[in-house]
Symmetry: C2
Subunit: 423 residues, 2 copies
């Protein structure tokens, strides 16, 4: 026989049943919380028109898109590829189904996306993303930014991790206005990028990078001071106002940040919500609120999710304007880092409640009935139908279930059943 490699392809998650159960429980928590917050679930196809994906992609993403070869039997239609996020398919979905949706459209998407990135430990080429977005038609009030943050933060808090989760929130208008005020719009992209990377490098390196792009010492000092502004709403809003920036965009941004943080604080999210001027989010399309989730006790883990406000979801597909705000939890990567840091209580000790164990073949029919009754009580139940000796059967049962119900001649006769706790 030709030897075939049976490992999954590099960059693809594959879990044993016990870990899969834990993964699924996190996925279900996210789904339930999104639903409970009023987000309607949709699923778009995994295979999309290449044209749709490329309209938005650009840059690195384009090099990571998996193209799909049309099959011998299905040669019709456009060139095809695998979606690399939920946002681009959502834009297509909103344009396609506009007349059947109620706006603002609060929508959730939970599923696998695909990026053929360079192989790296803890990075996946096939990964779950769990997105919650609110899409407006023509306009969308700022309050929805708080709605989206509250929703995804709630999902993460419901994981019940033994370590705090914090939403770090900023607003791109603030930095953008500050850059205008300083008259360094030409260095805007560099400044965003230096701030975005600042947490991954030593402080001196960040400072040197600002010098290198030609910022004066005065402006550099101001931006460095700006970057350090962090904390609760009132403190941060005061600090920002005290910078004495007159730029209108800057002040709009501060006002929006104040509203978003105000709603979250009023709803009881205090320690879990911080304004943080280091948050930029790399992606170009964010235009207002931006946020990231972090585990402050595990800084090396980096961002475990985030999102922000975008002026127009569908700019590539229609003249109409659909502003939105969205959040995404990268569950596959998050699950990996939670595991690596032993932050997941194994939520599933034994996957099943009951194993019904018939002693001989004569008791199998009765064992099926007993199992049926257990299931009708809502207990996940298996019948052990394999194995010769009772000991073997109980060893097998102990790997799966919390209790065994052994069925022998007596039990069939009397109908009296005993539960044996499996250790």
């Amino acid at each position: 026989m030709k030897k075939i490699n049976t490992s999954p392809i590099s960059g693809m998650q594959e879990l044993l049943p016990e870990k899969q159960a834990t993964f699924n429980s996190l996925k279900n928590i996210i789904g339930e919380v999104y639903h409970c917050h009023g987000f309607l679930n949709i699923e778009t196809p995994i295979i999309e028109r290449e044209e749709i994906l490329l309209a938005k992609a650009g840059g690195d993403t384009e090099k990571q898109i998996y193209k799909v070869v049309k099959t011998a039997e299905a040669k019709d239609g456009a060139d095809q590829a695998l979606r690399f996020d939920h946002t681009v398919p959502l834009a297509r979905y909103v344009v396609e189904h506009e007349n059947d949706l109620a706006f603002p459209f609060k929508v959730s998407q939970i599923g696998r996306n695909f990026r053929g990135e360079r192989a790296q430990k803890g990075r996946y080429r096939e990964f779950y993303q769990c997105d919650a977005d609110v899409i407006g038609r023509n306009s969308l009030p700022i309050y929805y930014d708080a709605d989206v943050i509250e929703t995804s933060l709630d999902a993460l808090l419901n994981f019940g991790l033994d370590t705090p989760v914090v939403a770090r929130i900023s607003n791109r208008k603030i930095l953008s206005g500050l850059i205008s005020e300083l008259g360094v719009e030409d260095k805007s992209k560099d400044i965003y990028s230096i701030i975005d990377h600042s947490e991954k490098v030593p402080a001196e390196e960040t400072e040197a990078a600002f010098t290198e792009i030609g910022l004066s010492n005065e402006k550099k000092a101001l931006i460095l001071a700006f970057m350090d502004i962090y904390g609760a709403r009132e403190y941060v809003v005061d600090k920002l106002r005290n910078l004495g920036v007159g730029d209108q965009v800057f002040n709009d941004g501060v006002k929006e940040l104040d509203i978003v943080l105000g709603l979250l604080e009023a709803d009881g999210y205090k320690e879990n919500v911080k304004a943080d001027m280091k948050i930029v989010r790399g992606l170009d399309y964010y235009t207002g609120t931006v946020f990231e989730y972090a585990l402050p006790e595990y800084q090396q883990v980096g961002s475990i999710g985030g999102g922000g406000r975008y002026d127009n979801l569908t700019g590539h597909f229609t003249e109409q304007v659909f502003p939105g705000v969205g959040s995404s939890i990268g569950l596959t990567r998050l699950f990996y880092v939670l595991n690596e840091n032993n932050l997941l209580k194994s939520q599933v000790e034994r996957p099943l409640e009951v194993a019904v164990v018939p002693i001989s073949e004569n008791e199998i029919e009765y064992a099926f009935k007993v199992a049926k009754e257990q299931r009708e009580k809502g207990k996940a139940t298996t019948v052990v139908l394999s194995g010769k000796k009772l000991g073997d059967k109980l060893n097998y049962a102990a790997k799966l279930a919390k209790v065994a119900i052994i069925i022998g001649e007596d039990e069939v006769k009397t109908g009296e059943l005993k539960e044996k706790i499996l250790n």
Copy 2:
């Protein structure tokens, strides 16, 4: 702006939120029933080594496999393609993780598979399959065949359709033994195929096909009589024994059928379970029990799922023998036919319980708190944060939720809330 086609690719399911909710509820029912019957859920990657997929595929399937082009950033590793079913990845999984699994391994897989077939109404190129399999190491008792059938039948019955669901069950050993008895082993493939197609063509055509492959009138009559054997266990087993076939394989098959039907009948499945000698299942790899689910009141719909026993799951990957029995529900196609025949009660009238409607911006903060309280009671709740007039807000709320809680100045002052039923 360049005009871009925003429809999904042909052959891909894309649902509006309300239909998606109904689809999800069926998928969740299947997942819960599989779990409750003791099947452990796993997920394998959607992208597999092409070598793994081709080891098993062959025939038509090979022409339907979507190959994936490695990306500029991920050129490493084997040639890749999208999985076309759950069985081949399961075989790889069992070989790869053998030492970490408890056998018999009762396993469920629910996810999307991909086949680039010719476009046809109601056929999908991307589709959900919901599989339950039991995999033994070296051997697997016949009782598991009943376990798998009971499990998948239970899932379908839990849909609560307004029409009966029937499991049609046979055993390939019976037909195989009959063919030996008649000494027409050389026509075996043709006979299987004619029986498999017999329900899609007029009776005369089936008879003519048997004549064409050179069956004598006597043998033809016997096979036609055999094909008509249908009904409850006792009746069918008697009928089969009365054919007077001495072949051992035939008699083994009848015995296995008797055991499987006996367990199901004893468990209370009477009207939902029929022995049916027309069931062959096209796939070559079935070797014993075979079954299909049908809606007898909607014969044009055809099979809505099925499966069977296979001697060896992993023959292409290892010398070791892993016999199995499995069932698959093709949920995307099933959902399509249930919709087409109006067999789905819309399980979701309004997706949400509550819409909290602040009258002006002054009440938004309070509305967030009220929504939080509703969610803590387990009610899916949205806050209406958009729209100028109260009437607009209530119209929007009525599309989503069953009741509205309107928040004005008085409510904020007094904390007294009224629920308004939305019509």
